[in-house]
Amino acid sequence: MSMAADDRELRDESLDGLQLSAQLERIWRTPSGLLGALMSVDHKVVGRRYIVTAFAFLLLGGILAMLMRVQLAGPEKTFLSPDKYNQIFTMHGSTMMFLFAVPVMEAFAVYLVPLMVGTRNIAFPRLNAFSFWMFLFGGCFLWISFLLNVGPDVGWFAYVPLSSLQFTPTKRADVWAQMITFTEVAALAVAVEIVVTVFKLRAPGMTLDRIPLFVWAMLVTAFLVMFAMPSIMVASTSLILDRLVNTRFYDSSSGGHPLLWQHLFWFFGHPEVYIIFIPGTGMVSMILATFARRPVIGYPVIILSLIAIGFLSFGLWVHHMFVTGLPQLGAGLFTASSMLIAVPSGLQIFCWLATLWDGRPVYRTPLLFVLGFIAIFVIGGLSGVMVASVPIDTQVHDTYFVVAHFHYVLIGGAVFPLLGAVYYWFPKITGRMLSESVGRWNFWLAFIGFNVAFFPMHILGLIGMPRRVYTYTAEMGWERLNLLSSVGAFIFALSFALLLANVIYSLRKGARAGDNPWNASTLEWATSSPPPPHNFDRIPVVKHRDPLWADSESLPVVAGLSAERREVLLTSLAEAEPQVREASPEPSIWPLLTAIATTVFFIGSIFTPWAVLWGTPPMAITLIGWFWPTGSREDEA
């Protein structure tokens, strides 16, 4: 673009106040109407959809959990047939892991990271829209299959040979494997967006040591996704190939091996736990700073811990395979490496305890959930140290002890912070506060219900109850603890009903939030609630790790970005020095069309290998449509 053209361009320095807001809003807003909504590439719109969809899947997965708890509340109940039960526990695990836990964390990141780093949109906004559609279609594909009685029934881990064509001749295992492909495509896309957003779209001056801890956590998580998920993609693809075109990856009579599946699955599956948990710790650090009324102690320690957890998480997968007959010394080494992850996790907890110790805590609902998180997660971590021990694991592996353990880790470590995060960021996202009094009830019901539901499972496992059994007999002596657990589960479920009621009520009647209702320190609170389509009228300049605490009166900003086309500011990787004013894509229908073409390809290819042939041209065409310039100002810059 020549200098002459530059001179004619309307820049944000020549506008001010409302005029600037209105102009930026006009170029950044999502087009109106249904078509406009389908074209949206605004990270806030996509993020909101992502969050709502993930919570819808939480609700569905939770209903399944309740059905299982009814079935197990007493011995030899016939509420669910074994076939239904097996589908339901598989659906519960798959839904919670692939359609709720990972997506909801990425969803919060999609919404919050661009705001926290002070930019106008996420990197690759069309990829972001595509990611959401793939997630939605993959989730619907799984659930519609389930409602048609083709829901997977081979466990969320789908071990071969049970999931092979010989032992699962129906399409159930294919549905599971292809759902994986859908959600992994979606997750990988978001991971790349987050890495590039954090690397290149940070506000000027946001050096590496001024990045908010949630953003750091999501950066580490994004890398984990990028390095862990290819493994499950290879696994699920090879499983489908075994089932569809007779390859022999897992056929032990033709040189394949069932344990290959377990290695591939857990090489992904263990980091998966941290993909869910690390964002939770990021949320905890943010909430804690705000409500302890001081910065979190040990900022560098927390970052190094996150990175250490990221690395260590790739060296633990074998502890899921201690009873498969591996060499003993090797297994012993994996005991040590698995326990070592307690060190960085512990360091983070010590930092949080020290922060609370010195802080002036304000006990609002988000902080309550963080305190609950500490109490529960530490139990989960410690029982994790137990299951890391080979001899102990030979007893508790695949028992209810492990069910208790990972619910303490995942619900304690991720869902409690997440619920805190909902209370914390709801005002930013909607402009209204959630009810505090309902929030307290919500917390206490969740805390009590959770512990009543899951603590007894530790004992059940030790007194011999294996996982994934649809029933048990009275003489096993498991019925009363199971009944107690079921009662707890319903109390826990009630807490989510309260949350839902609180959200619905507060959306209309909640108190107006204002820009920064909690008097927090990070950039997402420097703009209005909800933020305008362009996030910030002018891109902030960061001079402190807690910018809004360092100067609560005025915000230093940059000027000079375009006010007539979508433009974001790219900065250097380490020092966040401004480098380029890069165009940001305008809304487009093509990501949706590409997602539809990809969905046809994926679903077709579990029925016939020829889908790879006839499914590719539509994908290629939609992708060309996506990238082909339309002559807009953004394209022709």
Binding site: P82, P161, H257, L259, F350, L356, W357, L382, I392, P466
Partner: protein, 336 residues
């Protein structure tokens, strides 16, 4: 704690755990290995409890103590920041020491649990959807025999089980005797254990193996060595021929109505290999892989409609008149 509260708690605990017979429990070890594992478990448990309580105490004091005066979030006390930094580092090092210590404790336990004895009594167990095939192997083929779903072992003597699978992955688990080990398609695993006391210990498949994973149990019956020897000699023999007409009718029906296509009864013409061996089924304690206690009534219910008791299992329902059913039950019962 007021007496009433204490009584209530004790009552609650007993109520919750009542009827816990301990036949299938890692907390009620009856073998050398399970004993060692419980020992290791308790060491971990005590340390875990201390750590958790310490964290909760620090958290509680942190919440209750008098706070610093300044209301300005960034107005921090330099001495506290540095001191807490050092303390956190120290606690980190303490964590490293604890986990390394626990790794050592764990490995020591692991070596005991997986110690091998060359003179162990060797059994081969093959997992099927959803039952257990048990081979007693001896140097002489005349001393080798096959049974199902029930394993008798001598007390005080190491037992080695070789584990294989005929279909999907299963897991062999008798918590009162030792930890579990998977039965993996195309791979041979083994597990050794020693029962300290005589008794019946229940085991159950611990790896999800399909529709009836919940009903894939078995019993390990530990007998004093001389009693075990007598049992083994008896088990090695072929099946009894029925002495009475009803029994003979049952034997004929067993062949005639297809039972023999899947089940083997040594010494008779029934030589099927798909289902459990029934040579001495009358001596067993359960029906349908630990699903029901064995009695004429349960045997009858099982044969009359296997799909009602264990839906999806591979045994088909055979159309039988009630007198035919009675004859078959009678025949099987006397296969002692």
């Amino acid at each position: 704690m007021p007496v009433r509260v204490r009584t209530a708690l004790v009552f609650l605990a007993t109520w919750l755990l009542a009827a816990c017979s301990g036949r299938q429990s890692a907390l009620d070890p009856q073998g050398l290995q399970s004993d060692q594992i419980r020992h290791t478990l308790f060491i971990f448990l005590i340390i875990a409890a201390i750590v958790w309580i310490a964290v909760m105490v620090v958290l509680g004091i942190g919440m209750l103590r008098r706070k610093r005066a300044s209301n300005q979030p960034l107005d921090l006390d330099r001495r506290f920041e540095e001191g807490s930094g050092r303390l956190i580092l120290g606690l980190g090092i303490a964590t490293v020491i604890i986990v390394l210590g626990l790794s050592f404790v764990s490995y020591a336990g692991q070596r005991t649990v997986f110690a091998k004895d060359e003179n162990a009594l060797t059994l081969k167990i093959i997992g099927h959807q959803w039952w257990w095939e048990v081979h007693y192997e001896a140097d002489s083929p005349h001393q080798s025999f096959v049974t199902a779903n029930e394993i008798r072992i001598p007390t005080g003597q190491p037992v080695k089980v070789e584990l294989e699978s005929a279909d999907v992955i299963h897991s062999f688990w008798v918590p009162s005797l030792t930890g579990k080990m998977d039965l993996i398609t195309g791979q041979k695993n083994e597990l050794q254990f020693t029962a300290k006391n005589a008794g019946i210990y229940r085991g159950q498949c611990a790896e999800f193996c399909g529709l009836q994973h919940a009903h894939m149990a078995f019993a390990v019956i530990a007998l004093p060595p001389d009693e075990f020897g007598r049992w083994r000699d008896h088990e090695n023999q072929s099946a009894n021929s029925p002495a009475d007409p009803l029994g003979k009718q049952g034997e004929d029906l067993f062949r005639g109505r297809g039972c023999a296509l899947c089940h083997n009864i040594r010494g008779t013409l029934a030589g099927g290999q798909l289902g459990p061996d029934l040579t001495h089924v009358g001596n067993r304690t359960t029906v349908a892989a630990g699903t029901l206690p064995l009695s004429p009534a349960t045997l009858g219910a099982w044969i009359a409609d296997p799909q009602h008791i264990k839906p999806g299992n591979l045994m088909p329902r055979m159309p039988l008149q009630s007198d035919e059913l009675i004859a078959i039950i009678h025949y099987l019962e006397q296969l002692k």
